[in-house]
Symmetry: C2
Subunit: 155 residues, 2 copies
DNA sequence: GTAGAAGCTCAATTGAGCTTGAAGTCAACC
DNA sequence: GGTTGACTTCAAGCTCAATTGAGCTTCTAC
């Protein structure tokens, strides 16, 4: 890898850490998990292209939304391997999340309603209450944290 | 233990588990953590008053909102110890959550906006982007990684 | 009166998502 | 040429929220 004189193409791990707000240890961990990758300097030190920052941003976003690292990895795997991802590539990925966010928001709205209506009124027996009923919570839900259970048809 | 003919006052752990959708092991765990408690039959088996179901419902709700068990314990500790909690008691507790839910919803809305605006447009450098900046992430709301970068003492 | 389901305790394990520590390499500065 | 500091790997440790297993007791149905 030859870097062009005009711009510093490659970043060190601490550069990336500083710019992303993600600890170096976490960056190594993400690399180990296959979420990001790095070239190496002759010394063995990691050298990151600037594009990694967007990838990391994506990871941070996705985590806040509630995806696990495995899920995030699966999303990232959809990006083209042969070329730098474009805006379109990124927005194609993230478009699937909008509905997920909406579902989570809807759940929070239901919970909020439940706080006043359900816990307050005493109907909260959990075997009846739609807001947190076992059918919703039971299904270990192959992927995704439990918090993400959206409304499924309850039995 | 004599149970009155008209209604079964006390529930076994599997009754409670079935009615709440919470595993027996979790119920024992909650007891160990001081979130719920049980009387004991002569045999040593747990016997729960029906009111425990509402307490468990509260725990489940609170978890879905994003509180830790410690936080939930702190909330539950505010309930009167000398008498069965009333609707008012419960709704007083849960009223503080509404704003928490609103905050989380607001964050999700921002994230959703960021998906199209920010990841799409390429401004997402994380050191600048409002949507996922350290200050936001430090809030530590709900689920997700515990160590928010901006939060760490090491800087 | 006995099989087997359900309960008990206590300790260990799980899994996600990291951090921390030990031991070593490498380049730069004085 | 010695020290500092950023980097490396690998292993161990940590939190949270449970689950799992061992080893034993008790309850329920036939």
């Amino acid at each position: 890898m030859i870097s062009f004189s005009s711009m510093p193409e490659l970043l060190t791990i601490s550069d990336v850490s500083r710019r992303s707000g993600v600890a170096s240890s976490a960056l190594r961990f993400y690399e180990q998990r296959g979420l990001i990758c790095a070239e190496r300097a002759g010394s063995g030190h990691r050298r990151y292209p600037r594009t990694v920052l967007r990838r990391i941003a994506f990871i941070v976003f996705a985590q806040r939304i509630g995806l696990t690292l495995d899920e995030i990895g699966a999303e990232l795997a959809k990006l083209p391997a042969d070329r730098a991802p474009t805006r379109r590539d990124w927005s194609r990925l993230s478009s699937t999340w909008a509905s997920r966010i909406d579902q989570r928001i809807a759940e929070l709205e239901r919970l909020k309603a439940g706080l006043t209506e359900c816990i307050g009124c005493g109907c909260l027996s959990l075997e009846r209450c739609q807001l947190a009923n076992p059918a919703d919570r039971a299904a270990g839900l192959g992927s995704g944290p439990r918090y993400w259970v959206a409304d499924r048809p309850s039995g």
